[in-house]
Symmetry: C2
Subunit: 489 residues, 2 copies
């Protein structure tokens, strides 16, 4: 067996362990009784520990040094193997353990501090997390030949860097300054169409969500839809587990949530089966993943065509006068708000931009942790013209930093912008795309995405996939055009 | 760290892997979409492979050789560790792989052969399974100082051997010869009380089953009840997963199934937490496990007292005239029949005795595989006075042998007999036991079992636990007395 073949076997085994962890993680969120939590933690720690141990094994380092790659996907696969091993071994064990401990401690304090909006309570713990993250980012950056921030950002998304993101986000900042007031004015001028009051029975919501998800292309012979406190898409490519939660006063939240997760799920279901469990066969990154959830939820499902399909279907399912106008009012409205996860698609990038700049400043040390609340409030004021009334609705709202995750935030908006760009290319390639959406049929769109994104796996990076699929690297003009068409006309 | 402490850590890790497998296995039966089957097989193979690899590791052999046990439970724990390592390493890898391959091939052929009642089709494959099982049993027996059959039987239950079982079963054979016709005559003389026809809605059955299971002591903060094609009790001690299936024409099957699995679940939930994930902390074996399911299902739940509690409860839940007499007619009736899994508690041991004798003859070579159908039919005729009309209802009915499982069958009846003996001792210790059963309250019984069986873990073998709990080793007189009281008076 060649060195490369041996590596493929090793990565296959690691992937099997990670798949087992993915199912156990889904179970913990969707099925497990409370009493199982402690034991599940130990089970998952053992699986993660073994996966990491195999990835770090000195013999793997030796085999990687010897291995020669054939060309094409195999060459890329070997490159990704080397990077994974390098990332896993670059940091001293002591540092990794200190990071895990600090992250856990900080997260616990943060949960309490957020409730009482008490930044001072978590400041010291966050400073320690930032310090250890910086220390790791510097080592990683040296190993990978990247800046510390790039070293972190690239673990979530390869193929687009912070400098490129900065240019794109800055351009969007200018767009937003002009577009948001106009959108608000147009919105105010329009009449209020409302959805009828609930209750919207959970079982009816679930059946409708399932029908729409299947209509979007999700194969339920290889997927499940369940309930969890925080919706997610988990499981494995041939056994996808998506979750949502139901509010009987509002059917839209669960429905949009399911369709968002369906976009993630379609990506996983359509990954190249021949490369299953190899690094090159995995999804291309978090920004690309988010583009797939958002192209379904934001681009396809909230389109005029699809809402015209959805309104009568929902009206029949719930036995209530649900109109297209009512859906548009509920699902397509801009609003300056404090909370990122509740933001509309036009203001969402402002929340991301704020975090993108602040986390870089925190990492370089240009911003002291003590000054974060002030910088946050000033930043939001500059971007959206509003100031959070307290830190709970300000810099304490997201778990990410307190858990040691720096470099992730840009993925959300890079994904949203890529979704618009991919949609524009798909519309060009599929002349009857809107006709199909009007019949609730996402198969043409999904087929196009499968060929141009899903089936690419990790054979290329973010911008490279976009160039081949759409003719150019990420260009925010498509997202701006989308918003202009939807909110400014 | 001492050698023994290192071993405890190793066994902890192995147990975590096995727990992960248990949850994945439950998921495969109760939750997984069909599309996930192939991937799940690979995930579980990797987990089982690692568990086996760790157990067989040469370093573990060396550490076991060095380790010194403190006294008491630790000493027993070390003994069980040594036995587990010996069992895992005794067989050459080639032989184990040949056994797995032969078992899989034979099982596949058997599934088809059973449908068409075609023993000839599977004869050759079964002969190969028996040959490889014999080869392994001889090696194992030499390593453990046991006969080949004992080497197999003891992997399912320690602390009672085949010679002891033979004496007990032979005595029961004589009892049955006299008791069965008398029970049939008494039964025929009694009037027929029937249960009302269905439908018994699945949701109502499930709610009732859950209520009774909780009443029997199952803590649903650390357990789930779900649906699967073949009911079982799985999961882990702090996260038990029991399953059943529902037939809307008959609520009794699911209810009794759930209460049977509840007995298994209570055993797992009450195992000594301080010894979690150590060999000495596990249940004492399959016969003891079966005694715990049967003491709940057969001894407690089918008692006069409990059925008097159940009848009005079921009547109210289903809104039908369900009477104690109707329940007794459905749940306490003897009948000579061909299928083991459908047999009543009086004739069930005859099915086991038949298999116990035939599997020993197959293993020693005293019975050729080609002669199995004839020997089976003669045996059943001698025991129950009936002859199967075909091999599907004869020697093809159970999966066990075709899958390579020889030595398991005695556990069912040893468990049924132990259940009667434990119930007699519990009744002596708990004067108001029947009063509590009449209120649907199994807490006194469960508390007694917890102290005398569950909390013992594997600190002692089958007969040793019985001696300490009841004053004597397994004595079939208690089971006979139970049957006499229920069916012959």
């Amino acid at each position: 067996m060649s060195a490369y073949e041996a590596l493929k076997l090793s990565f296959h085994r690691i992937a099997c362990l990670d798949e087992a962890s993915a199912v156990l993680s889904w179970d913990a969120s969707a099925m497990m009784p409370d009493g199982g939590a402690e034991a599940r933690g130990e089970q998952m720690a053992v699986l993660a520990g073994l996966s990491h141990e195999f990835l770090c094994a000195p013999e793997m380092g030796e085999t990687l040094a010897q291995a020669q790659a054939p060309e094409g996907w195999d060459a890329q696969n070997l490159t990704l193997m080397r990077e994974a091993h390098l990332r896993a071994t670059a940091l001293p064990r002591d540092l990794v353990e200190a990071q895990v401990r600090a992250g856990r401690a900080c997260e616990t304090i943060w949960r309490a501090a957020r409730k009482t909006s008490d930044f001072a309570a978590v400041q010291k713990a966050l400073a320690e997390v930032v310090r250890l993250t910086r220390e790791g980012a510097e080592i990683l950056g040296q190993a990978l030949g990247l800046s510390p921030y790039e070293a972190l950002m690239s673990q979530y998304q390869r193929g687009i860097n912070a400098a490129q993101a900065e240019v794109i986000f800055t351009r969007y900042e200018a767009f937003l300054r002009e577009a948001l007031p106009r959108a608000e004015a147009l919105q105010a001028a329009r009449g209020h169409a409302t959805l009828p009051p609930g209750p919207y029975p959970e079982a009816v919501q679930a059946a409708l969500a399932r029908r729409l998800s299947a209509g979007a292309g999700l194969n339920f012979n290889a997927a499940r839809l369940d309930i969890s406190a925080h919706p997610f898409c988990g499981g494995t490519p041939t056994d996808i587990r998506i979750t949502t939660r139901y509010d009987e006063a509002d059917f839209c939240a669960a429905l949009m949530g399911v369709l968002h997760e369906t976009g993630h799920a379609l990506y996983e279901q359509n990954l190249p089966a021949a490369w299953r469990r190899q690094p090159v066969g995995a999804a291309a990154g978090m920004a690309m993943h988010e583009s797939q959830s958002l192209i379904v939820e934001m681009q396809a499902v909230r389109s005029d065509a699809y809402l015209s399909y959805l309104a009568p279907l929902a009206a029949e399912a719930f036995g209530k006068p649900i109109t297209v106008a009512g859906l548009k009012h509920r699902l397509r409205r801009v609003e300056r708000s404090f909370i990122r996860v509740e933001a509309d698609e036009m203001t969402y990038p402002a929340h991301v931009l704020l975090r993108f700049r602040l986390e870089q400043a925190l990492l370089t040390g240009g911003l002291a942790v003590a000054d974060l609340p002030g910088a946050w409030n000033e930043g939001l004021q500059a971007l959206l013209g509003i100031t959070p009334p307290d830190d709970a609705r300000g810099c304490l709202q997201d778990i990410h930093w307190f858990d040691g995750a720096i470099g992730y935030f840009p993925s959300y908006t890079l994904g949203a912008m890529a979704a618009a760009q991919l949609m524009a290319a798909a519309r060009k390639a599929l002349p009857d795309l809107d006709g199909a959406l009007g019949r609730g049929d996402l198969a043409p769109l999904t087929g196009w995405l499968s060929a141009h994104v899903h089936q690419r796996g990790s054979s290329a990076g973010f911008n490279e996939i976009l160039v081949e699929a759409t003719g150019e690297a990420l260009n925010p003009a498509y997202f701006e055009a989308h918003l202009t068409a939807r909110y400014l006309t």
